[in-house]
Structures are given as structure tokens and as C-alpha cells.
Amino acid sequence: MKNKSLVSITDFSKKEYLQVLERAAEFEKKTYQDLLKGRVISTLFFEPSTRTRLSFESAINRLGGKVIGFSDSSSSSVTKGETLYDTIRVVSNYSEMIVMRHTQEGSARYASEITNLPVINAGDGANQHPTQTLLDLYSIQKTQGKLDNLNVFMIGDLKYGRTVHSLLMALSEFKTSFYFISPDELKMPNEYKLHLRKKGLSYHESKELDNSIKAADIIYMTRVQKERFSDPIEYEKTKNSYVLKNEMLENTRDNMKILHPLPRVNEIDINVDQNPKAYYFKQTENGVYVRQAIIALILGL
């Protein structure tokens, strides 16, 4: 993994996923470790993202490293018309790793071709956000004690949600049973179902968020966004059908945990937050340990 860029979740192998998870568990036990003392990492956020940027910066700081960068492109030379190519070439001289988020899809892959430094993709448009997937995996492993033989329910926008696609790819390396619950307009794309068939994994599709969730080990909720619907009436009709409420969780398994990449709008009722099965805030904490692990492994520390 040393010096390797992490642009897509499929850039890492199953073995590498497990290495990251193992290391993240060590950081969870002892999060302040001076491994990066005196070293500099760039965080280039061409598109603002408070949560992801702070999580990375917290991870770097806990490792004793220094952060340089910008939190949105208006405070960078992009406003002067500088190309991504030039920005990456210049920044390559200032640090030893680049963490970047950009609105354009493929930007992180392109950056990794320009620079000799490892690049960590912190989100390129609707394409990839691999550190989110690794923290999802960590959260699943931590709460279930395993990654094999789990029933994973993905609910909401399964068509456009990059987090569900990447998580599906990562979990397809394990013996997962998938359950997809979404409106017709937002079904899991065929290419992913085809991938599962090739891997010999089972999946079930449904439109109804009903008591089928009692079989779940993990419920992965996503946001159903208004702008995804061509017909606004259809949106009004569906928007309340994919909301998770406390009473729906009554007959679910004791080990079941609810994950969500956040931000949440209304798809998880706030009463659920008090339920011990709600895990989405703890999930963000895990993100820091996982990012510490990824940075340390890539820098060979």
C-alpha cells in the first residue's frame, strides 16, 4: 500500500481493506501518535465539505502532522483561472501527500497521474469517496464482529448514491446478502447487480420499506433527493415512504445497526437517534481512525 494512491475503492484489494481496518482499530485504542511529526500533508478542497475535511484534518493533527491547503476553490488560484494540472504540480512541491475533493468526476485520478505523491480522493463529484467506504466497512466489522454472512439492507436513493455503490463493491469481497429498498425511479443500477451475480452473491429488491428489515444486520440509509425525480408529484408521493421510524425497529435483530453517510435530512426520524441501534454518529468518529490508518499505511509509517 506504500505510496499508493486511493482514488477508487477498487484500487485496494480485500487484503488491503483488512489491513486498513486492523490499523484503524489500533488508532481507536491510541489515537494520538506522533508518526507524522514535522511532516506536511495538503488538503485541497476545491469543493467545500466541512465534515470530510475536518475528519481528515483531525486525523492528520492526531498523527502530529501539519496541514496546508484550502477549504473551497474561491480561496485558491482556481478563481484566477489556474488549471487543476498547474495547481497539482505546484502543490506537489509543498507536501508529501495530497488529499483532495473536487466537483469534477475523475479529477482525483487525473491528479494522481500528474504528481508522484500519493493522492487520496476525498470525493470527486458523484463518482468515488473511498475513505467513506472504508469507514463504513470498519463500522460494520466493529458492530458485527465480522464482515462475512451479513444481511445488508440499503435503503433510499440506490441509483445516484455513490456511497452505496462503493460499499456494495467493497462488501462484494465478502459473503454478503444484499437487500435493496428504493422507489422504482432510484433502483440499484444493473451494472452493480450484474457484478453481484458474477460474484455469486444474492440480492433482493423491493419497493416497500416494511417488516422485511427484521432480517437485517445492517441498515444503510441514504437521502432521497428531490432533484433526482423527473416528476415532482412522484417525489411528493415517495418522500415519506422511505423514512425510518422507531416503531419500525421493534422486531429487528438485537445486533442490528443503522448506518448513514450523513448529512441526513428527514429519512431517519430524530427519535431514532436515542435508539441503541442508531450508529451514524459513532460512524463519523470511526472515520477519523480509518483516515489515520489510511494515511499511515500509505506513507509507510
Binding site: 488549471t83 469534477q104 468526476e105 475523475g106 487525473y110 470527486d124 468515488q128
Partner: protein, 151 residues
């Protein structure tokens, strides 16, 4: 079909590209950069073909392509056949082959793709050679045969 080519092939040495879909003729010319070729070139278009409906043909004197170069037209003329001519005789026949990777020919269909915003040659993995389907190595989106646009 072979007889027909020989009938219209009056070149001594060179290459005949046959079975080009008629509507793709000018794209083929542009991809192979034939406008820069100084030798003799003959085109025929809208010729009747049992296989393609209307086909086009290009005859090039003293031009011999490398496989890598000729395979660039596979995206738009997947059935194209080459006849290599020496001294008025067909000495070799070739078919074009869709390569595994395609660089700098087709546009990525995704308007949010970095290749549509910065000056970068596009790069695709060919995921389906029969019903052409290209996966952008940058944004990872699929551009299928219906949506392929040449640069």
C-alpha cells in the same frame, strides 16, 4: 465481395479499406488523418452492401497502416476489412480489432467528467467489444455506442 473490390481497385500498391458504414466515411478519414496524406486517395460512398445497407470504401496508394493505427477506426467501423495490395494483387486481408484501451478518440459522455473540463486526452477501457461500450478511466462512467462522439 472480393471480386468487387478487385474490380474497383486500380491501385498498384497500398491499402483498401472496405465495409465502412457510409455515414462513418468522413469520420474514418479524420481519425486516420487522411487529409494530411499526399498520395493518391479514392473514396466511394453509398455503395450497395448486403451487410451494411450502404457502405463506403477508401483506396490509398502507397499507404500501409500499423495495426495500432488502423484499430482506431474500430469504434465507428467495426466491420471494416483491409486489403493490402502489392503489384495489383491482394497479398493480405485484415479485419480491424477493437483495442482494449482507447486514447484520445472518443468524448466521454459525462458532462461532469474532468476530460470535458481540462485539456486531457480521453482514455477508456473497452468493456464490451461487440456492442461498443467504453469505461472512462477518469470518471468511471460508461459511454455506449449510441452516445459515442468523436473528438
Amino acid at each position: 465481395m472480393k471480386d468487387k473490390i478487385l474490380e474497383v481497385s486500380a491501385i498498384k500498391d497500398g491499402t483498401v479499406i472496405d465495409h465502412i458504414p457510409a455515414q462513418s466515411l468522413f469520420k474514418v478519414i479524420s481519425i486516420l488523418r487522411l487529409e494530411k496524406n499526399e498520395g493518391m486517395i479514392t473514396f466511394g460512398s453509398n455503395l450497395v452492401s448486403k451487410k451494411l445497407g450502404r457502405k463506403a470504401i477508401i483506396k490509398l496508394s502507397d499507404v500501409f497502416f500499423k495495426d495500432k493505427d488502423i484499430n482506431r477506426i474500430a469504434l465507428i467501423a467495426p466491420e471494416a476489412k483491409l486489403n493490402i495490395i502489392r503489384d495489383y494483387n491482394v497479398i493480405e486481408k485484415k479485419v480491424v480489432e477493437v483495442p482494449d484501451e482507447i486514447t484520445g478518440i472518443a468524448k466521454c459522455v459525462n458532462p461532469m467528467c474532468i476530460t470535458n473540463h481540462e485539456k486531457i486526452p480521453t482514455k477508456f477501457h473497452v468493456t464490451d467489444k461487440k456492442n461498443i461500450s467504453l469505461r472512462c478511466i477518469y470518471c468511471e462512467k460508461i459511454t455506449d455506442s449510441e452516445h459515442i462522439e468523436m473528438i
